[in-house]
């Protein structure tokens, strides 16, 4: 996957400024940066939901700006859990099944075959037997797993995750990171996630893209997570004996 001098402008404001990076599959990559850094915009541009003002993205040979439909066929997107409307009466099974039912026309019936695929996928993410539960009754970590299952049921080549650790306790964040690493190593799914915090997945040696409108650093954690580099993207970063404070996670 390659981004070449990608710029995105919203209402005259620069959201991404000549962003360039190149990732070779298989990759486990975290895009980190402060609020308003353009992280979600980058994900949306990769999926073809936002058209770059200039520059080019290439994902497995596809230009998302020209063929967004093709990217959506190979990419699984996991939105922020906080963007989900919990008032809607919907079961876990229905959420996950939509991953496959979206490919067919109405009335999109849950056939026994789809049900069994859903159950298999739920097992894969550690939610076995929870299909009939209303989505809103799940815990934060379980909701995140269900959304990952919805993306996974489409057998994607790449998972694009927007803040998968937000609003979760640290041990749950680590469980989600472990799940993602397992999907990466055992199923060969490439991972590109946006996160404020990378400590839950630091053990898996992700590639890090440090973004604040433009790319300030790109590489392994030991090369990127240095105070002199972090201060460029996080002007308020503070060094303490025990580590570096760069900001506050959502929630």
């Amino acid at each position: 996957m390659e981004a070449e001098e990608v710029s995105v402008i919203f209402n005259g404001q620069m959201a991404l400024d000549r962003v360039s990076f190149k990732l070779s599959s298989p990759f486990f990559t975290v895009v980190m940066g402060p609020n308003g850094a353009g992280k979600t915009t980058l994900l949306r541009a990769i999926m073809g939901m936002v058209r770059p003002s200039s520059g080019r993205i290439n994902i497995y040979g596809i230009d998302p700006a020209r063929s967004p439909g093709k990217v959506l066929q190979i990419a699984g997107y996991v939105p922020q859990v906080i963007n989900v409307n919990l008032h809607v009466p919907i079961t876990v099974e229905e959420v996950v099944a939509m991953g496959v039912l979206a490919k067919v026309g109405p009335p999109r019936i849950l056939t026994p075959r789809v049900r069994s695929r859903v159950e298999e996928t739920l097992e894969m993410v550690g939610l076995r037997g929870m299909g009939r539960k209303p989505f809103r009754e799940l815990s934060g970590g379980q909701r995140q797993r269900a959304l990952i299952a919805r993306a996974l049921i489409r057998k994607p080549r790449i998972l694009l995750l927007d803040e998968p650790f937000s609003m979760l306790d640290f041990d749950i964040k680590c469980e989600i990171a472990e799940l993602l690493n397992r999907l990466h190593t055992e199923m060969g799914v490439d991972i590109l996630m946006v996160a404020h915090e990378i400590s839950p997945c630091i053990a898996f040696q992700p590639t890090i893209i440090l973004l604040n409108k433009r790319v300030y650093a790109f590489g392994k954690a030991e090369d990127v997570l240095r105070i002199d580099i972090l201060r460029k993207a996080y002007p308020g970063a503070t060094e303490l004996p025990a580590g570096v404070i760069i900001g506050e996670d959502h929630g």
Binding site: M49, G69, P79, N85, H87, V88, M98, F135, R150, R154
Partner: protein
């Protein structure tokens, strides 16, 4: 007399069916604000229809003009939302325009006919307890179109309401479904406004959906049964109290909301 009563209750039942079909998706997708303000467009369209019929003697069916105006404004709202405007702002713009139409044409109509304003107000208040065959036909057509379409696409509406961005990423045509939903709500609201009145449609649209979501299971059954109960009981109460049907439906709707709140509090 018996036949007139039967027609009135048949119309009430059809209206209940229409409300039952659209109320749940309206509440679920947090479009109550849109649905309520849509009624301003219907009112604007109705007043425009009254004016055109008075001045130009066109003899146009007012519900049709009201429905077309509402569909027009809802498509405008949908397009503005699709272009990135927030739903609140897009709705406010539509309401402001529709309300301006209402005020201007009410004023103009009052100058050309002494009965124009009372005709328009009849539409607002839903004062007529008499159901004509035309009313029954309109309500039946609306029910036949709206209810099956809503049920056929309920999964999509529910899914978009649950996670719009996720729905887009799965390849669902969110724009199409938004247009379809807004158009169905417009058509249903226009027909309801011509039968039970604009004001009571305001009240009754959200009640069955809210009740169904509060109860938490058997959503569709609860939405339909509560909608039928509210409107039929409302018609009955109106006859007992000697007020317009809209008054009876309003009293029952408010009672249901208060009952729901009391039940929730313990």
């Amino acid at each position: 007399m018996v036949e007139l009563l039967a027609l009135a209750y048949l119309l009430a039942a059809l209206s209940g069916g229409i409300v039952g079909s659209i109320s749940l998706p309206i509440v679920m997708s947090r479009s109550v604000m849109f649905a309520l303000t849509l009624l301003h467009s219907i009112l604007g369209g109705a007043i425009l229809g009254v004016y055109l019929n008075t001045v130009l003697r066109l003899g146009l069916p007012i519900p049709l003009i009201a429905a077309l105006t509402a569909v027009g404004f809802s498509i405008l709202t949908a397009e503005l939302v699709e272009k990135g405007m927030s739903e609140d702002v897009a709705t406010a713009l539509s309401v402001a325009t529709a309300t301006t139409i209402t005020i201007v044409f009410s004023y103009l109509a009052s100058h050309v006919s002494s009965t124009a304003i009372s005709t328009a107000w009849g539409y607002v208040m839903g004062v007529s307890a008499i159901a004509t065959e035309w009313d029954i036909t309109m309500a039946a057509i609306a029910l036949i179109i709206v209810a099956p379409t809503i049920h056929l696409t309920m999964k999509e509406f529910r899914y978009i309401a649950f996670d719009e961005e996720g729905a887009r990423s799965l390849g669902l045509n969110v724009r199409f479904y938004r247009y379809l939903f807004y158009s169905l709500v417009s058509a249903a609201s226009a027909v309801l406004s011509s039968t039970i009145g604009v004001l009571v449609t305001h009240v009754v649209l959200a009640v069955p959906g809210a009740l169904a979501l509060r109860i938490g299971r058997g959503h569709t059954v609860v939405a339909y049964s509560s909608s039928l109960a509210v409107i039929l009981l409302g018609y009955f109460l109106a006859r007992v109290l000697g007020v317009p049907p809209s008054g009876g439906v309003g009293v029952v709707s408010v009672s249901v909301i208060i009952g729901m709140l009391m039940y929730e509090r313990g």
